[in-house]
């Protein structure tokens, strides 16, 4: 089996036995009853590297006898929170956190304004955003753990997409509509194609096939199709008729409200009426929190503000980068920016697929895409409405809409059959490569914007 080195993610303080391992990042996409702890029905941590849980081909029902034996080894040592272990858990839990040093560097670079500054600022701030987004998810999980299911779910929704939300709003305030739209489309695409593709590829590398929960997959497919339709219709409207910008703005705002309602229904579906449908392998665990409540909230607030600051400097440097490096805005928005925000979900999805939980990988990535498409995007349009920015509409560039449509089509084909293979992952990654290639050479024409 391909060994995913997750030992570095272990919490070294929980004593012997199985680690109650936390996956980083996008637990927003999973039903919040698990709030970041991925356990099977017997209470075993599905993503722990030392878990003796060995899955068969179907992978959806754990081997109860083996796991119950393993479960006895878990010792729950009550651990007092000390300053030392809090600091360690926050800052030293991952090698990625080295990049946290890039945060002050990025801020400094922004104010220093060297001639090479735009590129350096861009790179350094992007590097800083990666561990920050991971820490943000960690803090969100910790706070959500104490908050109960519904509020925890809502918290996950808001802060789970914090990076995209902040980047978009910052760009919106600077009137960079093209960047906003491109970044959001890029986030959806990179989740659907790159992350899911890597997850399927790695997960399917040693197995003949992976199984999915069909109902969950089909619900996701329907929601994705809905999201794409919500973007497609105003775009086609704009193209097919010569309407003034104000009318397009009206249509976009109306459609955004409807999409937000759909998202609300999706949350109700997930959290209340059909909770068992989507979490047949996952159960809310009773793991203890790793951070003291105050520390968790402080971390949440701190990382959010740092993310905001770094995002602002990142967006401001984009102009300089496009001039100096002759890179198109499309490429930055579609390919580069989303990578920054998607590191957490990449980690979780890959780990899940490696342990034969294709279900989990799908829930995480498709859920993340849905959140951007049905929550962040309409929310940004509504914020633009409040700010009186008429240009922020759902009428996208035809290229981007086509990309979205094709990606959703391909993903739906792969997941609605209920089985995936390594080839499914390879197809998705190749489509992403095509997207990246096309957007590299895309004519960076600002008058082409919606």
């Amino acid at each position: 089996m391909v060994d995913f080195d997750s030992t570095k993610y272990d919490d070294r303080d929980t004593g012997r036995g199985l680690r109650q391992r936390r996956p980083f990042g996008r637990s927003t996409s999973c039903p919040p009853s698990t709030t970041g702890r991925w356990n099977d029905v017997a209470g075993n941590d599905l993503l722990s590297p030392t878990n003796t849980y060995q899955s068969g081909d179907s992978g959806s029902k754990p081997n109860i006898s083996a796991s119950s034996a393993a479960a006895e080894e878990v010792v729950d040592i009550p651990e007092p929170f000390t300053v030392a272990n809090q600091l360690r858990r926050v800052f030293f839990s991952s090698w990625l956190n080295i990049l946290l040093l890039a945060a002050p560097a990025g801020i400094a670079l922004h104010f220093a304004q060297f001639s090479a500054a735009p590129i350096a600022t861009f790179v350094v701030n992007a590097a800083a955003l990666m561990p920050l987004s991971v820490m943000l998810s960690f803090a969100t999980d910790e706070v959500a753990l104490r908050a109960g299911n519904t509020i925890g779910g809502l918290l996950n929704v808001t802060f789970g997409n914090a990076v995209e939300l902040i980047v978009s709003i910052v760009a919106l305030l600077q009137h960079e509509i093209v960047i906003v739209q491109t970044a959001l489309v890029g986030s959806i695409l990179s989740n659907l194609l790159l992350v899911l593709g890597v997850a399927f590829l790695l997960g399917g590398a040693r197995r003949s096939e992976q199984h999915l929960n069909r109902t969950a997959a089909e619900t996701a497919a329907g929601l994705l199709a809905m999201a794409v339709a919500g973007v497609m219709l105003p775009t086609v409207f704009d193209l097919a008729s010569s309407t003034p910008a104000a009318t397009i703005a009206h249509i976009s705002r109306g459609t955004s409200v409807i999409l937000l309602i759909v998202y609300g229904a999706y949350l109700v579906f997930q959290l209340r009426t059909h909770r068992d449908l989507l979490t047949d392998t996952m159960v809310a665990s009773t793991t203890k929190p790793k951070l003291h409540a105050t520390v968790a909230i402080a971390l949440l607030v701190g990382s959010t503000s740092l993310v905001a600051v770094c995002a602002e400097f990142l967006v401001e440097s984009i102009d300089g980068v496009t001039e100096k490096l002759d890179v198109s805005r499309e490429f930055i928005g579609l390919v580069l920016l989303p990578i920054v925000g998607n590191v957490p979900s990449l980690v979780v999805a890959t780990a899940a697929a490696l342990r034969n939980h294709a279900d989990l990988a799908i829930v995480v990535t498709v859920g993340a895409s849905l959140q951007v498409a049905l929550f962040v995007l309409p929310l940004v349009v509504v914020v633009g409405w409040g700010l009186g920015i008429d240009g922020m509409t759902l009428s996208f560039d035809v290229f981007q809409v086509t990309l979205l449509f094709v990606s959703v089509l391909l993903v739906n084909f792969q997941i609605t059959t209920g089985r995936t293979y390594w080839l499914s992952g390879a197809l998705l990654i190749q489509l992403f490569a095509i997207v990246a290639t096309c957007s590299w050479w895309y004519p960076s024409d600002d008058t082409k914007s919606a």
């Binding site: 329907g222 199709a225 339709a229 497609m232 086609v236 097919a240 109306g254 459609t255 229904a265 068992d276």
Partner: protein, 499 residues
């Protein structure tokens, strides 16, 4: 096994779910439920529905109570509170002749057509009761979407091709998104999920996709080649060729449904319908009817575990039922002479007269309505797109919508989906090509399959979404919500559409 429960619930369970207007037996079932609910007590008739070869051309039906003038009038005019609105028909015609303000004419005639459409379908069913399968099927096919056909033909005669196209697309959309969405939503509120026949759903999905493609291809040819007036004829010729092919496809679909695969479709539906719903009362009744001992076990199971893992636990006992049910059914094959679920309500001549009269009045009201559309759009109140896409389809489909939703709430999702999807297919594969052919006959060059690109994309998106959601044969409330919200998005777009 015979209990005191009326046998007439039998057909409700065993019935064909390939419900469509073309299939008289399944359509009978639909309106039986519409008018009598599930408790039609008729212990003397003892008529279970059995798949039997029925006579092709005509059959003899006898009413239980002899027809009198009194009860005929009662059954046509007084059988539903909605018929009050019939009074607006003469009012609308008068307003139109008096050349009053267009808005008033539109609204009054709009309101008048709704009960007239219900009356028309009632008369059609009564006549179809007396004809055999083929003629009954054809009757239902032609008069089923009569209102849409009439409105479209009138608009075509007035050379208003945009309204023709828009109202037909709107009819497909309202069936596929609005009706089905409400069915899934309201039906799914009380349950985890509902099932419907997979073959019907998948066949419908493919046919709808074909229909959508047949509209998109000419539209794309027209838009992206910037056809000038001189090339318009080529697009029209393409459209006419495609229309003929679509009519052939529709003929094949009828043949598939009524002849070659009728039994297959009906058999499969047993399994779907037999899966117990969460409503325990209904359950017990159905199960005691269908299967003796197995039912007790399954109904107790269903009462223990109604919600979770609905599929897993309940599908096993459900798996037993079709065999038992069909065994019962085969016992009764000898008894049946006709397939009727109910007796005729109208005398044949009365039904014929009602059919003719309502068609005529609908035609007049539709003409009044279509002529007044110009007045509505001139004032800038609403766009033509909105009228055609959203308002006009309501007129022809209102009664059916209500019935389909009621049926879905009663967990007869087969019927509901069959009606909604069947109606959409009929418009897409029969009425649209028929209009093009009629335009061909009348020499109208503009009547083609080249639609407005916005409408083509809307149709495509709707067909795509609907296909994703019905392809697995199951539905829950969120799927219904998605369909309705897509319809809302389309309405928002069409409201703001430029004139």
């Amino acid at each position: 096994m015979a209990t005191g429960i009326s046998y007439n619930t039998f057909p409700l369970i065993n019935a064909a779910n390939s419900i469509s207007r073309d299939d008289p037996e399944s359509w009978n079932l639909f309106r039986h439920i519409r008018r009598h609910g599930q408790h039609h007590t008729d212990p003397e008739s003892q008529r279970p529905a059995v798949c039997q070869e029925s006579p092709l051309l005509s059959r003899h039906v006898k009413p239980r109570i002899p027809f009198t003038i009194g009860n005929q009038i009662h059954r046509t005019l007084l059988n539903s509170p909605i018929n009050i609105l019939l009074l607006s028909a003469p009012a609308g015609i008068a307003l139109h002749l008096a050349r009053v303000n267009g808005i008033a004419v539109f609204v009054v005639n709009f309101v008048a057509i709704i009960p007239l459409a219900a009356l028309l379908s009632f008369a059609t069913e009564e006549i179809a009761l007396r004809t055999g399968e083929i003629v009954g099927g054809l009757l239902n096919a032609s008069f089923g979407n009569a209102v849409e056909l009439i409105v479209a033909i009138i608009a075509l005669v007035k050379n208003n091709v945009r309204i023709v196209q828009t109202s037909l697309i709107g009819s497909i959309l309202s069936n596929l998104l609005l009706v089905m969405g409400f069915c899934f939503f309201f039906g799914g509120l009380q349950r985890q999920e509902q099932h419907f026949n997979l073959t019907v759903a998948q066949t419908a999905a493919s046919l709808l996709f074909l229909a959508a493609m047949s509209i998109i291809i000419p539209t794309v040819i027209d838009s992206w080649n910037n056809t000038t007036k001189s090339h318009q004829s080529e697009v029209t010729q393409i459209s006419r060729g495609i229309s003929v092919i679509l009519l052939l496809v529709y003929g094949a679909y009828l043949f598939f449904q009524l002849k070659t695969h009728a039994i297959v479709l009906k058999e499969e539906s047993q399994q779907a319908v037999a899966q117990p719903s969460i409503h325990i009362k209904e359950n017990n009744k159905k199960l005691t009817l269908e299967s003796g001992g197995a039912s007790i076990a399954s109904s107790s199971l269903s009462s223990i575990a109604p919600m979770s893992n609905g599929d897993q636990q309940l599908s096993n006992p459900a798996g037993n039922q079709p065999q038992v049910g069909s065994a019962n059914q085969s016992d009764r094959i000898g008894n049946n002479d006709n397939d009727d679920v109910e007796e005729p309500q109208l005398h044949f001549l009365v039904a014929l007269f009602t059919l003719a009269a309502s068609t005529a009045i609908i035609a007049i009201c539709a003409e009044a309505m279509v002529s007044s559309i110009d007045d509505l759009t001139k004032g800038g109140i609403m766009s033509e797109e909105f009228i055609g896409l959203i308002l006009l389809p309501i007129v022809g489909n209102a009664a059916e919508h209500a019935t389909a939703v009621t049926v879905a709430i009663k967990n007869k999702m087969d019927l509901a989906v069959g009606v909604a999807v069947g109606s959409a297919i009929q418009v897409a594969l029969l009425i649209i090509p028929l209009l093009v052919v009629i335009g061909w006959g009348m020499g109208k060059e503009q009547m083609s399959l080249s639609f407005d690109p916005f409408q083509a994309v809307v149709l495509f998106a709707s067909v795509l979404l609907a296909n994703y959601l019905i392809c697995d044969g199951k539905s829950h409330w969120l799927e219904g919500m998605l369909l309705v919200c897509l319809y809302a998005i389309v309405s928002v777009g069409s409201w703001f559409y430029p004139h």
